[in-house]
Amino acid sequence: MDWTRILTNVVGEIFAPATAAYALAAIGLNVHFGMTGLINMGQAGFMLMGAYGYAIATMNGWPVWMAVIAALTAAAVFAVILGIPTLSLRGDYLAIVTIAAAEIARLTVRSSSLTAVTGGNSGISGNDFKGSFQNACPLPDGSWSLGPFQYSNCLSNSWWLRIVAWSLVVIAIVLVWRWMRSPWGRVLKGIREDEDAVRSLGKNVYGYKMQALVLGGLFGALGGMIYVLPSAVQADALGRTLTFNVWTILLLGGAATVFGPLLGSILMWTVLMFIKSTLRDLPFDIVSSTQAEAFSWVLVGVTLMLLVIFRPQGILGDRKEVAIDAR
């Protein structure tokens, strides 16, 4: 077994763009669920809005910053449309509507009648939308290596993308940290606990929930953009599985904590990579690489179950808080 290679793979996951993308999406979900108690089962839908919004806008010749604004607008509009009918209802309705809406969005963008705009079933290939982002890269051409990690400076899965992605994660974490400790975050927390009580104190609960839904959706859209930039935009990669992974990450790290989404994302991807690489390297041929992939996902499912049963507060969560709720 080649332990150096396995270790390199695992460490590489810690700062991979996908890890950052998942962290951003989980930070958004944390604003929904951890801070406000909104059960959003369609975070992938927000990521899809970001990914497609950005890709389509760039393909139409929009500069990077305008494409980002277009992507964020798409996610915000999506949030408002979902929120208007559901936020005045009980929590479970939002869960049903978001999962359905995310599926509708996915099926719409992959439908063949929209092939001219979204690429339909085959999606949008990387080269069609990555150009402007790569041109904005301030680094010199070529590639650079840090120890065993060698990536292109500007192209596709690049250092440039890593810098942007992790800067976004840092900004998002600082913002959420600030919000959680602010009076605004306090109102959201109150809504999470009991929205009627907050209403009875004169706060516009509906407005706050809408703000939280949009805000978390925007983080989701950012995550979606980062998620597709190393590769391509593909509708089926932005489906339910993605949503469930983001949930696993949030619950693993700890909902309602500042660093939970980040820790959850890093942990989940490094462990997955470790299992996959180890299984693939086993001296005797028990599992093929496809089976290894599938097996690692089985483990994700088992982890999620064990987590909810034995440590519902996640790694960083406060045991006391959950215990109170159980009474």
């Binding site: 919000w179 009076p183 605004w184 104190l201």
Partner: protein
């Protein structure tokens, strides 16, 4: 009113209310709530049907009645937590019917709940802070710039600490609200409501589930509210409490206001006895035929027959 300075608020209010007629919908000398033709139906059932109701400013008014009388529904309507099928009411001169619950609260009418709504996974102090008004840091963008709201936050914390001391919860300030006892949660909910600096406090069964040791202190707090000039309207089942602290009692039965009067005499009101004891409550008490022996025999036979039927069913 320097001439009245030597009398207690309770006595002053009793004097103000002395001339009010003891009948449903009586006009008060200084009403803070005036409601007209308020109805709320759930399917075919009329839960609330109040023709006219006035609540005296600065007084403690008790809303009593048997189970299912529509007290809590009326409460929900007045505070904007439910929408009426018809009717208008004003609060402090402002039309507030059909206003959202949050707006009603901002207008100065704040409520508590029958099933206490302490925000369990927040500390007691955070619960209190949440009640405060005019905190600009509750805006999405302003919250990111602490210098904009820190001064106000300090004022809020001072106000909260003072209230917690008054309600003897100051030692619990850093605990999760979920770790408090039932009675302490009631106290917290009341204290939190006071953070909004209301003109009127609506208490839905403030004594439900409170242990006897805390009852006395809760009663004291409610009377303090009145003595500070706030108006209190509360729903309660415990008649001892009603007699002890209220200045005026409104009795509801089957959605309607059936009687009003001072607590000392209200329980002698025929309509109230009727509402609570319920004997032939659908029959007009003025119906002389009830006094007729023949009719009585008939009614008895009916009752007997009914009993037989029930036994057979069983």
């Amino acid at each position: 009113m320097p001439a009245d300075a030597h009398i207690t608020p309770k006595e002053r209010i009793a004097k103000d209310l002395a001339a009010v007629p003891r009948k449903p919908g009586a006009a008060k000398p200084d009403s803070i709530i005036v409601a007209d033709n308020v109805t709320r139906r759930f399917g075919g059932m009329t839960a609330v049907d109040v023709h006219h109701l006035e609540i005296q400013r600065g007084a403690i008014t008790a809303l009593i009645g048997p189970n299912g009388a529509g007290k809590t529904t009326l409460f929900n309507l007045l505070t904007g937590f439910d929408k009426p099928n018809s009717g208008e009411w004003s609060f402090d001169g402002k039309e507030v019917s059909r206003m959202s619950a949050a707006k009603v609260a901002r207008a100065g009418m704040v409520r508590t709940f029958q099933l206490t709504k302490a925000l369990s996974r927040m500390t007691v102090l955070e619960n209190m802070r949440l009640g405060a008004t005019d905190q600009s840091g509750e805006g999405l963008l302003r919250s990111l710039v602490p210098p904009l709201w820190r001064t106000r936050e300090a004022e809020i914390t001072a106000q909260a600490t003072e209230l917690l001391e008054r309600f003897k919860l100051d030692t619990k300030a850093a605990d999760f609200a979920g770790s408090l006892s039932g009675g302490q949660r009631k106290l917290l909910e009341m204290a939190r409501a006071l953070m909004t600096k209301p003109t009127m406090v609506m208490l839905d069964e403030p004594m439900a589930g409170v242990n006897p040791a805390l009852t006395q202190s809760l009663l004291g707090h409610i009377q303090d509210l009145r003595d500070e000039g706030m108006t209190v309207l509360f729903v309660e089942h415990d008649m001892h409490m009603v007699r002890h602290i209220s200045d005026w009692v409104v009795v509801m039965a089957e959605g309607r206001v059936v009687a009003e009067g001072p607590p000392a005499t209200i329980m002698q009101d025929e309509a109230v006895v009727d509402a609570y004891l319920g004997a032939h409550h659908e029959t007009d008490l003025g119906d002389d035929s009830l006094l007729d022996d023949e009719v009585l025999v008939e009614l008895e036979a009916e009752a007997e027959a009914e009993e037989h039927r029930t036994q057979e069913d069983a």
